[in-house]
Symmetry: D2
Subunit: 328 residues, 4 copies
């Protein structure tokens, strides 16, 4: 079930060490200007290169293969392909019986009965998020003037993110991170009760991004210890603007016109060179595993553009749906 959305719908495919990864975007309205150049900024933000990110280098050139004519969207599906160029040829078959803790190795092995492409995480690789970022570039155009911005606020429990990453690198370890995302200029009325609330639709999409382990809207988990008199946001004008924004811009699952605010927890990268215990599925014996090779010490560094894209995709879909439901 590699598709998401109702009217604005994306499907992703590909593997870490296969021919490439891609995305198919269906339901994009016609007439939106789009060139390869539009993808550069967000794809670069997702790319490794900074300290703490994997040294795997990929050009990540988006090959647009359909749905664009005379540099504008046509209304037909847009297919974008990213070639894999920097896949190392190791003997991955030795590893298949030793599931890496934190990874999908064990679950994929069982679910797909050993037929999955396990090289570098295969279809479970974070590389698949390239397609989400690419679709997000288009979604961001659809939702204008709504703007979306996600920022890494903490890593390893500190706001000195650089230091946290440096320490992790020195120890061959990794750290998690906390990202906040804010969308501005949201119209009132997005979200479809009961089961397609803004939170439902957004969390569904966000939890598809590898390594996300929590999401909270507005005051989030703090609301559990708040009083109603503290939490309720006073409505201060007829546009629905509120004095505070504990609701994160959503009431009853519907956008209320204030900023949409949510935070997500990103777990530490599972691949670490510190020794870990795991089982050898063939021998049934415990082994100590040290994962050498290329990996991110803090994957959260690269996640903000993915969160932004995911948010824009969800908002684009909710906007098209909401438009459909207006009285004829």
């Amino acid at each position: 079930m590699n598709s998401f959305g109702t009217l604005f719908r994306i499907s992703i495919y590909g593997e870490s060490h296969g021919k490439g990864v891609g995305v198919l975007i269906d339901g994009c309205p016609p007439g939106i200007p789009l060139t390869q150049q539009d993808f550069v900024a967000d794809l670069n933000r997702r790319k490794p290169g900074k300290p703490g990110t994997t040294p795997r280098k990929e050009p990540d050139v988006p090959q647009i293969q359909s749905g664009i004519f005379k540099e504008k969207t046509t209304g037909a599906p847009i297919h974008i392909f990213f070639e894999n160029t920097n896949t190392r040829s190791r003997d991955y078959d030795q590893q298949i019986h030793i599931p890496r803790p934190g990874h999908a190795d064990f679950t994929a092995m069982k679910k797909y009965r050993g037929f999955h492409d396990h090289r570098g995480g295969g279809h479970f690789s974070g590389r698949l998020t390239l397609g989400i970022v690419a679709a997000g570039v288009i979604a961001k155009k659809i939702i204008q003037p709504v703007s979306v911005a996600a920022v890494l606020q903490e890593a390893g429990g500190t706001t000195d993110i650089e230091m946290a990453v440096q320490t992790a690198l020195e120890n061959g370890d990794s750290v998690g991170g906390l990202i906040e995302c804010i969308a501005k200029n949201i119209p009132v009325g997005l979200g479809e009760p009961f089961f397609n609330s803004v939170e439902s639709h957004l969390s569904h999409m966000i939890f598809s991004i590898p390594a996300i382990k929590g999401i909270e809207f507005g005051a989030g988990f703090k609301t559990a210890s708040m009083k109603g008199s503290e939490h309720n946001d006073p409505i201060v004008n007829i546009e629905g603007q509120t004095a505070t924004n504990h609701a994160g811009g959503i009431n009853g699952g519907i956008s209320n016109g204030n900023d949409l605010i949510f935070r997500v927890a990103v777990k530490p990268t599972s691949s670490i060179s510190v020794g870990q215990r795991t089982i050898n599925l063939k021998t049934g014996k415990m082994e100590e595993l040290r994962i050498e090779g290329r990996h991110d010490a803090c994957i959260a560094l690269r996640v903000p553009p993915v969160i932004e894209a995911a948010t824009a995709i969800v908002l684009a879909d909710l906007m098209l749906i909401n438009k459909g439901y207006r009285q004829i």
Copy 2:
């Protein structure tokens, strides 16, 4: 979009002060024993009656109107209706121009252009969760031997929940709460990458429940400040059992056979008798609003059976889907 699920699919409808609320359950396998009696326990857990819950009394008798024959499911859709019997006839029309902070009044007014049934929250009422609990009773039978248990762990920031509720009641205020849910005996392999991970499917459903503002799986938001060497769960046997369970029973979006664990934050009930500021949409002037009448001081008290039901519904759907995908 009042339906949820792919193969096991529920649809809910109704209003707080209309004729009633109901649920339509499609995709239930045939041959499962089911009588009205099966619904009593979970419906009672959701009912008010304890201190801190609304004094509105409803018998909540499930009227099963289809899909059952000789006390067994037939494979056809099961429709269950709950009559509203205790709706007070006040003049709700006076209130429609004064949106209650924290409620869906303002967003519903804008989205539905004033045509919505606003009495007691209308279609946004927590009363709609009756249908979820009823569907959960059936789902719990489908997923056997998987068991699901949700518990309120904190209210208003303390584990002395009784005291927190008592204080709120005395002050005409309300408090939020923190609920943990654990599902045991989960088979390995549930969840469908990329967009129907267990977390995606479950959070989608959970955020449809009114008042939920956050969800986290396993170590959740703590993972943001953890190191990989702390977070990764060592795999200790060939069934995939792990020494710790920071992953909450999910790797790569797929159940790994360990307990499924997640926590949700429930915001404080929006209806409080403490004075609140809001706008009069007709006059454009600020007003102070005190909400008298029946309401829950801590809605979180009644949410655990809803969380359990939602979880069982999601697991039932993921199980049917997973079964469908096995090699023919």
Copy 3:
């Protein structure tokens, strides 16, 4: 999978001899006037009473249980229930092992492993179409000024329908029929390539109606023996009006603004009192079966309002979708 539609979505349930049948309508825009009276005309057209239709008498009063407030749609789901009042208590259990030719008895028995409600066809009964007709009443309001009209053109191979029915009645036999449906004032642009063409969406819905065995659009099966120079409809003005309408109002799966025209074949009622051969599933022996009791000699007499309703439902859905896809 008892639901149909993307934005305007209906779900039906119930059994012929259970408590009743019903329909849940989701995605209806708010503000549409609707009262019980609106349903009378179409429900009456579907009712038996004319010669050739079953003598089973049901009041078929639509109980609207949600989604309406102050006699207007609210935007929330509309639930309509029809009680069964005239179900005869026979010993249906004797019959379960003797599948009636032409009916779903054998297939239901196998698919649901004997747990289905087999009384009077159970969930397979034509009585389920009550919900389609009711939803169609609402859909017809949504699609205005589009109008839909279906007419029985032939029965038993003749346009003298009365005679055909009379002969069938005299012989304890039944006859099939041919229905033509025309929708006028259709806007250009409905239908979503590639897989939601007008023909796709419409045929999907139409073949859900029991007893339909064929559908053709415009010149239909005649096109198989036509030449392109005969078949192509000359376009005569910039509104896209065509001199002929062999296309039935659809090009490339999209409505072209001319009348939407299609025809459906309705098979003869399967229940006949003429002797038929079938197998006794218990004994494995052939038996001769004569079906006495209430049934329609020509079910096609009652199908036109169902076809109209189905068409209106499909058009309502396609209209909402098309509106959603317009440039923002």
Copy 4:
């Protein structure tokens, strides 16, 4: 809405004169052997080359870009791309204001407001069916031992198909055709009432294929003039085998274990060099249009492998769904 299916789901994209066309296949069970060689036979049957088909020559090599590992399906999405190599560079812009009768030119122009890629039919081109044929190759493996065979029975109203095509070629005209499709070894129980009957699911898919204008199951349109005593198929053994097969292998929307039989009408190719009247959308004046260049005199010649593929895709989906619904 370029996707079809519930568990076995295909999405197609591309344009006649763009970079290529492709298909994304989601929900294929793991472990099915698959190589490029498997596609040759069906792709060749769809290729032009015979008299009466377009002289456009394309190698149509399927580039498998994901979802296959060690020559077996992995359970992850399979993406297959077909490059366009033989696209002629004409000045298509001259033509955009002169819609060709029978084509989607006018409807696409209106629906996509002129932003569509109109070259050679763009996204509406029959070339898109390459993706359906490719997905069908995989579906045929999934549904084994079910076999599907479609045959062109008539063209231009005669069984002397060669002659009909020859005459059309000589006259610069085109002819339609009639195709029959039979699937054997179908298990009892496929199809999901009410709205996913075998006929519903299949007709939805079949009408997505360009040029199809009618479909009928079993005795089809003949049933309209039949008597029940003629039409009902006597059941002759406990496996549900019937003496005749007027039902086309389906009762109550569910497969009954007999051969699945249906026929489709294919309209004559719209592109003909005979003069046709149409409107110039810019000048508002009638023009006579003669379409020169490459086109099929009888597109029905190339449709049988597409019908087979569509049928296999539908059956694969219905099989996975049916498996999901079996009692746990």
